[in-house]
Symmetry: C2
Subunit: 117 residues, 2 copies
Amino acid sequence: MEEEKSRESCCQTILAIHDVMDLLSGKWKVSIIACLCFNKMRYSDLLREVRGISGKMLSRELKELEANQLITRTVLSTQPVTVEYQITPYGATLEQLIGTMADWGLKHRKRIKNGGI
Amino acid sequence: MEEEKSRESCCQTILAIHDVMDLLSGKWKVSIIACLCFNKMRYSDLLREVRGISGKMLSRELKELEANQLITRTVLSTQPVTVEYQITPYGATLEQLIGTMADWGLKHRKRIKNGGI
DNA sequence: CAGGATCCGGATTGATACTG
DNA sequence: CAGTATCAATCCGGATCCTG
């Protein structure tokens, strides 16, 4: 019975995790969201902040994030046009997850520096 | 100054996140770890639990996880041989992260069911 | 400035068959 | 049972050029 409950919950967990991984799949999505959690940003800002990303990948991943309602895209009628990306309230609910990730990552970096022990 | 601090911390965050994503990259790694957080398991167990994964991918990702010291691999001298995978104490420190992920994923699933609003 | 279109090589992944 | 080998399909991501 206890055994069964554990197995049940394991399945659910795996499905849920798979959803998250699908949503955040791609080399850059989490970094982009993390960036936008700090501030709304323009395309060129992101291109600079998310080091290593190419223009093509940035637009592509932004588009997917927008489709999943995690960010919004606003065209500003400046000359020339600028586009501002902003995290949605829904996207902001990822902040805790990303924070946990960053924490673990920072500890992991230290561990690596200490010889991976 | 406040601005600068924020920018600084943003950079660090992104690097740390990138580390985590690298470590957990691949469609299945997080699911595998989540599984092993519940219980130690044999290869065939994992093949069943992590739905959709192929044998090739399972061995490959297990190998990488082992290389990163997140899990251990133990060959049992049964007939025929069985292999048991188990999470390491270090791997277990990912449990909170994975828990957060699973929580978010479950909420996301509900949201999707409700029409994605 | 923001991003679409195209091309292309390389990496990922799946299916299937095979091994100790 | 726990993998490995091989082939084929697909995806990823960079470079370059082009548009409004």
